[in-house]
């Protein structure tokens, strides 16, 4: 597209805008398609951003902590715990190590056993919370030392269950962005079909315009501008509806888990505002493609 064509497309021409009949089902189809796609895109974007936040949180919160679990007879528990703590404090990459108190362990088990069960009568392992330095420790080496010196101690660095969760969240984020791309593609396809239909329905208009000396660029612009504006307006309405839907979702709570975290936070609320201009660009390119093809075929 030439610069002059682009300028004419953006600035418009009131007289030129009138040569294409203003109504018809293609107008409604374009508005509906762009509105519906923008609505879906807002949710895909919210899903993607929420997944991103979740992946980051899981990575950051769990990456620097580990747990040592000591299972030993009652009379050896205190000694093994002390030995483990001493060993941990000597280990490079360990910032701090602390044994959970009986009350803390009881609180952890409370959701499963209730408040009335006498936990102190059960052979509950002792838990030690390990906080790593930024550099981290050598988990394999520490495991070997624990195995040799404290047979009842087992190191759990959370990797086993943290990694799949982070990977799943990352994948979910990727799927969100792929969904947005697919939504854009589907919208382009629908607008191309609508534009093709409009061009076919307005074949007489094209013939008349050619008869009076209209160049292809002029004819294409008349259609492209019309469809671009429809795409922009439809997408703006779809985004507004989508944002309202997200806004009125229940607020974030631990009980709701991931679902109530679906949405935007802070400046993230501005991201959906890029959807209408992008929809307009998609509509512009799709209609331009359809118009050029139709005009070539009518030569």
């Amino acid at each position: 597209m030439k610069v002059t064509d682009l300028r004419a497309l953006v600035l418009g021409d009131a007289q030129a805008d009138r040569v294409v009949p203003p109504t018809g089902f293609t107008a409604r189809l374009t508005l509906f398609a762009s509105g519906a796609m923008a609505f879906l895109a807002v949710f895909a974007m919210a899903l993607s951003m929420a997944s991103g936040r979740l992946a980051t949180r899981w990575s950051e919160e769990l990456a620097r902590s580990a747990t040592v679990r000591i299972s030993a007879p009652d009379d050896q528990m205190a000694a093994q715990t002390d030995l483990t703590l001493r060993l941990l404090r000597q280990t490079p990459g360990v910032q701090s190590a602390r044994a959970f108190t009986d009350e803390e362990q009881a609180a952890l088990l409370l959701p499963w056993f209730g408040p009335d069960l006498p936990i102190d009568t059960l052979p509950v392992p002792r838990l030690i919370e390990v906080i790593e330095t930024a550099e981290g420790f050598d988990a394999a080496g520490l495991r070997l030392r624990l195995q040799a010196e404290v047979p009842g101690a087992v190191l759990d660095d959370h990797t086993r269950w943290r990694r799949p969760l982070v990977v799943a969240a990352d994948r979910l984020r990727l799927l969100g962005w792929i969904s947005i791309l697919l939504i854009g593609g589907a919208m382009a396809a629908m607008i191309t079909l609508a534009a093709n239909s409009a061009l076919a329905a307005n074949r007489q208009v094209i013939e008349v315009l050619r008869l009076v000396g209209a160049q292809d660029g002029y004819i294409a612009r008349a259609f492209v501008r019309r469809f671009t504006l429809r795409g922009l307006i439809g997408a703006a309405a779809g985004v507004a509806a989508g944002l309202l839907g997200i806004f009125f979702l229940p607020s974030v709570s631990d009980e709701g888990g991931f679902l109530t975290g679906l949405g935007f936070s802070g400046a993230g609320w501005l991201w959906p505002l890029v959807i209408p201009p992008l929809a307009a660009v998609v509509a512009c390119l799709a209609t331009g493609f359809a118009a050029r093809r139709t005009l070539r075929s009518l030569s």
């Binding site: 007289q15 030129a16 009138r18 040569v19 009949p21 203003p22 007489q204 208009v205 013939e207 008349v208 315009l209 050619r210 008869l211 009076v212 000396g213 209209a214 160049q215 292809d216 660029g217 002029y218 005009l295 030569s299």
Partner: protein, 225 residues
């Protein structure tokens, strides 16, 4: 001005006409006649570049049509006014906007041409119909409107394809008179018509050449008309 050099045109493998050579001088008046299906409309479309010949060359305003791209053809078409028998308009626009279409598509300021438009509408007798939509016009009004649209850009050549085909004798005379006036202003006029009585009546008023397409050949008609 318009020159055909050994032009032939085939459609679907069948030759509509072939080896046609012709020169249309500036300010001349030509009738094109022939039986239905002989190729009159096709011949006219070759003259304004809506069709490309399958052989030979068409030169318009000293430019070989084959050398023009679509935009070049569009610019060239602004110098040729075309009136079709079926008078196509944009039905959603009022007549005044339809007549101004050639100005609009060529980027001219329509408001600045308002006086010319009003004068033109008066000349073709449609001043009172400026705001009417094309489907509201009668056959004769549509033909006159098509003629007005064809000449709004003050073209050098006017090509009319059966402009009197759908109107009564009086309206035919009136339309023809408008074409004669344009020819007297120096415009080259090419008009296709199967109405020999009309052609005979007109030949007594102006010097016109009558071209006849028949049996795939273009000939100049003389006393046998």
């Amino acid at each position: 001005m318009i020159e055909l050099e050994q032009v032939g045109y085939s459609y679907g493998g069948a030759e509509l006409f072939g080896d046609v050579s012709l020169q249309l001088a500036p300010g001349s008046f030509h009738f094109l006649t022939g039986p239905s299906g002989a190729g009159k409309t096709t011949f006219l479309r070759l003259l304004y570049g809506a069709l490309s010949p399958t052989s030979g060359r068409v030169r318009i305003f000293d430019t070989d049509l084959a050398a023009l791209d679509r935009d070049g053809l569009a610019r060239m078409r602004r110098r040729i006014g075309v009136v079709h028998q079926d008078c196509q308009f944009l039905d959603h626009l009022p007549l005044i906007d339809n007549l101004a279409l050639p100005l609009t598509v060529s980027g001219r300021d329509v408001a600045a041409e308002a006086d010319n438009l009003a004068e033109l509408m008066h000349w073709v007798g449609l001043s009172s119909r400026a705001e009417a939509l094309p489907p509201e016009l009668s056959g004769g009004e549509r033909q006159r409107a098509a003629l007005a649209r064809a000449i709004i850009m003050s073209p050098d050549v006017i090509i009319a394809d059966e402009p009197t085909g759908n109107v009564d004798w009086d309206m035919s005379q009136r339309l023809l008179q408008l074409l004669i006036e344009l020819n007297r202003m120096g415009k080259t006029v090419v008009m296709a018509s199967h109405d020999l009585a009309l052609i005979r009546a007109t030949k007594s008023k102006i010097q016109a050449r009558v071209l006849r397409i028949s049996k795939r050949r273009l000939t100049t008609a003389g006393a046998d008309l």
